[in-house]
């Protein structure tokens, strides 16, 4: 691309680079353990390791490892690393308790176990502590470039048993019109409902993964359907987060199939009015089990039944009108 000298009276920003950049001298392809949870008592020390794989079969991988706090990005299960230079350490940070290498080298195509040590003081409070172990692939940088870099992390959770503060508050519950990020609660369905959601505010100091069930009853109180697992993916509500938990009516109720997104099927309801009752339980091992319940109502009105209902109502109105006219003449 020819260099165009700018006019003397104008200032033009220049950016010097060679097109496409050079071939990698280092890999930045990473395979990692995405999430890991442990239970440790106060005062305990434990050593374990994290899986790290070099996805590049020809180039070595050099990884810088950093312990970074994280929080929920929003009401979903998306994490947000807290990396601002003035970022305060979170109350649930693992930084004071974890020791891990700063740099790890992985040969081409190889896997490595990265050891780390967790040491909890005897006076650490009960609850959940979590941070991200971030792996940043080092591929070099220059002054006159826009560098592309890759980083990934293992989300590490440590549960410390004891008298922790556990408090989930239900914010909303209902059947939804889908399972995407933009799905909304609905009280009228023209197609068989399939998905549900509920939001919980976590005001405790334990990252909670609530468990429970949903029963669907018709207008006469008869149970017509059950959804045994109201948190099939074991989704977690982080400390301070208002989390939206989602799920669906499963096609296959085998435990290994429940978390799969392609295992959803529509309920088999007749047209009518229904209630969905949610029963959620949570509590750490040995701590009081807390229960939350809620009921949501909805109509299932396929368009065919709406049309039939309209016809019936119109016919009824016509009959009433005719009767009224006849009686008026008398």
């Amino acid at each position: 691309m020819p260099f165009k000298k700018p006019p003397a009276i104008l200032s033009v920003a220049l950016l010097f680079l060679s097109i496409g950049g050079h071939a990698f001298a280092q890999s930045n392809g990473l395979g990692v353990t995405p999430k890991q949870s442990y239970t440790m008592k106060a005062g305990e020390q434990a050593t374990n390791s994290l899986f790290l794989s070099n996805l590049n079969k020809t180039q070595p991988l050099t990884v810088q490892i950093t312990v970074v706090d994280f929080e929920a990005q929003d009401e979903t299960g998306t994490a947000k690393l807290l990396k601002a230079s003035d970022q305060q350490q979170t109350a649930w940070s693992l930084k004071p308790y974890i020791t891990i290498a700063d740099v790890v080298n992985v040969p081409p195509g190889a896997n490595k176990q990265v050891p780390f040590t967790l040491k909890l003081p005897a006076n650490v409070g009960a609850g959940t502590y979590y941070s991200a172990i971030e792996y940043t692939a080092s591929t070099g940088s220059g002054q006159q470039q826009v560098n592309i870099a890759a980083s990934t992390a293992t989300l590490l959770f440590i549960n410390v048993p004891g008298e922790a503060r556990e408090l989930l508050t239900l914010q909303s519950f209902g059947m939804t019109n889908g399972n995407s990020l933009t799905s909304k609660y609905s009280s009228v369905f023209h197609a068989q409902p399939e998905f549900f959601a509920y939001k919980m505010k976590n005001s405790g100091n334990v990252a909670e993964s609530p468990a429970g069930s949903i029963i669907i009853k018709n207008i006469f109180g008869k149970t017509v359907a059950t959804i045994d697992n109201a948190n099939p993916k074991a989704q977690i509500g982080l400390i301070g987060q208002t989390r939206k938990f989602t799920g669906c009516n499963p096609k296959d109720r085998a435990s290994e199939k429940l978390p799969l997104d392609n295992n959803c099927t529509a309920l088999k309801l007749s047209p009518g009015f229904y209630s969905a009752t949610l029963a959620i339980l949570y509590g750490q091992n040995g701590q009081p089990t807390r229960q939350i319940g809620a009921t949501a109502h909805f109509w299932y009105l396929p368009w065919s039944s709406v049309i039939i209902l309209l016809i019936v109502l119109l016919a009824l109105a016509w009959v009433i009108y005719r009767l009224y006219r006849r009686m008026s003449r008398r």
Partner: protein
């Protein structure tokens, strides 16, 4: 035959209204039972298939005459749902090690998922009651399970329960972790990824000479996939193009390219204006709204640009970048490092 049929709407509407209200009352029932309070279960070892102890604690909310207690192991907590024993769980050989509060109980019967304690019926007092069982086999699989606790006037668990509640417990490690496929998150980023991370090439982007008369554009790619059930997210980490204290501003909201106006932005689509980029290929992830609009670009440091809500095969996303400047852009060498950060969902 003449029928004197005087039409009085109130005679029809009022009964219809009352019947409707009655139907709603029937259908709107919630759980109307006497809950046990301050209830808990403590598992000695939360490992799948382990032979361990289970200790139950609870209080009765009111004084009732109790002769038996039933502990029923199920995959869900609601009494109106047919109880299914958690896979692998077995309490047939349970032994009552200790009891406190309401005592005098002995094991009346056990089967795979039931323990029934019985005694001569007596009034219960306001106190914490605790029952520890040993020789209990945990469920095999990692995850939650429930024990339904019910109290009866009879001495053998027969008849209707007087009090009922469930407790939740969790297995932290499956019985056979060596047979499990571990969760893995795969990720790489480069200027070009022709097939996989092994042939990824390029770690910097060249926009050439910036101009007030034409948009500069380029692409990079990232590859991501996971078998973790809560999927992944990919976010940007890095400032917009900067030279000392001068910046080419990132587009805070999606906008079209505007020649002669300072802009730095990206999207993950195939575009016509300019002709740059490609649609995501493979996998079951999706591009987030602000970066999913053809011919519109945005850049906010820290934004999630792509994610998947569940497991995803390997997918490749192509990032299209645009840069424009105006005539007053200070001269200098502008650069940045954009780190694509891939995290698991939770």
């Amino acid at each position: 035959m003449f029928i004197n049929a005087r039409f009085r709407p109130k005679q029809i509407l009022l009964p219809a209204f009352l019947v409707t209200v009655l139907f709603f009352m029937i259908s709107a029932q919630t759980f109307a039972f006497t809950n046990l309070i301050n209830r808990s279960i403590a598992i000695g070892t939360a490992v799948g298939g382990a032979n361990t102890t289970h200790t139950f604690s609870f209080e009765f909310p009111v004084t009732v005459n109790i002769g038996s207690l039933m502990f029923e192991y199920c995959t869900d907590p609601i009494d109106s749902i047919t109880c299914v024993n958690p896979s692998g769980s077995d309490v047939t050989g349970a032994v009552l090690d200790s009891q406190s509060g309401e005592t005098g109980f002995s094991i009346v019967s056990t089967d795979q998922n039931h323990i029934i304690l019985g005694r001569p019926a007596a009034d219960v007092g306001p106190q914490t009651n605790s029952y520890q069982f040993s020789n209990v086999i945990n469920p095999f699989n990692k995850g939650p399970f429930f024990v339904r606790i019910s109290a009866y006037a009879s001495s053998d668990g027969s008849g209707s329960w007087l009090s009922f509640s469930s407790v939740a417990a969790s297995i932290n490690q499956s019985i056979n972790i060596n047979a499990e496929v571990p969760d893995i998150l795969y990720f790489c980023a480069a200027v070009a990824i022709p097939t996989n991370c092994s042939d990824a090439t390029g770690d910097f982007i060249d926009f050439g000479t910036l101009s007030t008369a034409a948009t500069r554009f380029a692409t990079s790619q990232f590859l991501v996939g996971t078998n973790a059930v809560n999927g992944y997210s990919v976010a940007t980490d890095g400032p917009t193009m900067t030279s000392g204290t001068d910046q080419i501003p990132g587009l805070a909201a999606p906008d079209v390219r505007r020649v002669g106006k300072p802009q730095f932005g990206l999207n993950l689509r195939a575009n016509l204006s300019p002709l740059v980029g490609a649609e995501p290929a493979g996998g079951s992830g999706f591009v987030n709204a602000n970066y999913n609009q053809t011919n519109r670009y945005a850049y906010v440091d820290g934004d999630v640009v792509a994610q998947s809500l569940g497991r995803s095969e390997i997918g490749v996303y192509t990032v299209s970048y645009i840069v424009n400047i105006n005539s007053t852009q200070p001269s200098g060498v502008y650069n940045t490092t954009i780190t694509y950060v891939c995290l698991a969902g939770f």
